[in-house]
């Protein structure tokens, strides 16, 4: 059942992405930035997906601490890994855009720095998991650390308001310059990335569960 859901999610995400890409290719270039502007259709949706993954990871971690159901722990690690991949895609696409527009691959602007901090944080979450052997202790410690990491996430979102920054201001909300008739493609891409993230998380979740089942079988075999 869950396998079928993964296939369906994956197919819908792929179809949306392909359909969107065909449309985006047809859009005119932006006046100042040229074709590289179109990276926004991917750069921002992967960021949304990564942030959503952080949130899901936090909720799963909190639920694990409350219920002690290891399914939530497996979900937390699955969604964190996927979120980390999406955040990496966000950093890479941003870097490509920066090279074209600013002439540099990287700048230590508040938002870029915060995104990198988030990436390092969730990477150390995975490292922490790797270095704890005992499953219950690993799950509890990782859950606590994940909640600590998530508290850092609002700083990423609001940093653009708090600190003077080189990063372009959002073009979507009040006073933004994003053309209204382009918005559907953007939001379809957000949806596609979210679905893709969900499908990847489910695949990773199954992987994690099989691994745990294998470990418990191995323990049982050793016990006799």
């Amino acid at each position: 059942m869950r396998d079928k859901a993964v296939y369906v999610l994956g197919i819908i995400a792929a179809a949306l992405l392909v359909n969107d890409m065909l449309h985006i290719i047809g859009l005119p270039d932006e006046k100042m930035q040229g074709a590289v502007f179109k990276i926004i259709f991917f750069h921002v949706p992967v960021a949304f997906t990564a942030l959503t993954a952080c949130g899901v990871s936090m909720i799963a971690s909190a639920l694990f601490l409350i219920t002690r159901n290891f399914l939530f722990d497996a979900l937390a690690v699955a969604v964190t890994e996927v979120g980390l991949a999406f955040l990496a895609a966000n950093l890479v696409t941003g870097s490509i855009w920066g090279r074209e527009t600013w002439g540099i691959w990287w700048t230590w602007d508040a938002r870029l720095t915060s995104a990198l901090i988030c990436w390092v944080l969730y990477a150390s979450y995975l490292m922490l998991r790797k270095s704890i052997e005992e499953p219950t202790q690993r799950a509890i410690f990782a859950a606590v650390f994940s909640i600590f990491c998530f508290i850092d996430v609002p700083i990423v979102i609001f940093s653009i308001k708090w600190w003077r920054t080189q990063h372009p201001q959002p073009v979507f909300w009040a006073g933004g310059s994003f053309p209204a008739d382009w918005a559907p493609y953007f939001w379809f891409n957000v949806l596609a990335m979210m679905l893709l993230g969900a499908a990847m998380t489910l695949v990773r979740l199954r992987d994690e569960e099989s691994q745990r089942e294998l470990e418990s079988l191995r323990r049982m075999a050793n016990a006799y």
């Binding site: 601490l65 720095t113 915060s114 901090i117 390092v120 944080l121 150390s124 490292m127 922490l128 270095s131 704890i132 219950t136 202790q137 509890i140 410690f141 859950a143 606590v144 650390f145 909640i147 600590f148 990491c149 508290i151 850092d152 700083i155 708090w162």
Partner: protein, 226 residues
């Protein structure tokens, strides 16, 4: 009241244990000295730009040296299963954590205050005109370092690669607080005040301290008791 007494008993025990050996404080201060020495090779200590870098330099020294103190905080309880004894004692985990955090705060602050004049002398900075403001920034920054470091010291106490994992986890989380402390210190060294733009950083530092203190107190029972 009872809670406060338990906190103070734990803090008192930790400070006394540390003062008898002085191993963490000595190591931490010696390390601060070495880093201060090495930084003199990294860039020209006589130049004018030194004043811009001073804030960052000072806080990198503090963060590195502080980690040495914090690393020992829970590791000290491992021999003779002292940690199990502490957890089994009829004190809430929050009291145990807060007691340890207060003891660490005193030790981290001591190392920072001893290294401060050394820093002033080595890099020829007159810190006196803005000393009260600087002490406020140090007090806030040191608490951020302590509360995160003590919590993660508890998280990493039993794991492989403890010495590597603690800084790996502490510094990224601490980054906003460190950025704030560095900015504020650099501004003070360059003759600025804590008003205007700097007030935002000061608020960020205070908010960071408050939020993570609450989060640590709320979650520490899971880490200590399970």
């Amino acid at each position: 009241m009872e809670f406060l007494r338990q906190v103070l008993v734990v803090a008192h025990k930790d400070v006394r244990a540390e003062l008898r050996t002085k191993e963490a404080v000595n190591a931490s201060f010696a390390f601060a000295l070495v880093v201060l020495l090495l930084f003199s090779f990294a860039f020209d200590p006589e130049s004018e730009t030194m004043k811009e870098m001073a804030g960052g330099l000072l806080w990198i020294v503090y963060a590195f040296a502080g980690a040495l103190v914090l690393n020992r905080s829970f590791a000290r309880e491992l021999p003779n299963d002292c940690l199990d004894g502490l957890v089994a004692a009829p004190t809430p985990g929050a009291a145990l954590f807060l007691g340890k955090a207060l003891a660490n705060y005193a030790l981290v602050l001591a190392v920072e205050l001893i290294s401060l004049p050394v820093f002033g002398i080595f890099y020829s900075m007159n810190l006196m005109p803005f000393l009260p403001q600087l002490l406020l920034v140090i007090a806030l920054g040191a608490w951020a370092l302590t509360v995160i470091g003590t919590m993660f010291s508890a998280l990493t106490v039993n794991i492989r690669l403890r010495e590597v994992m603690l800084p790996m986890m502490t510094y990224p989380i601490l980054a906003p607080a460190l950025m704030g402390a560095m900015r504020l210190t650099a501004t003070l060294v360059q003759g600025g005040g804590l008003g205007g733009d700097m007030a935002t950083w000061l608020k960020l530092l205070i908010a960071f301290d408050a939020v993570y203190t609450v989060a640590a107190l709320a979650l520490v029972d899971f880490v200590l008791v399970g």
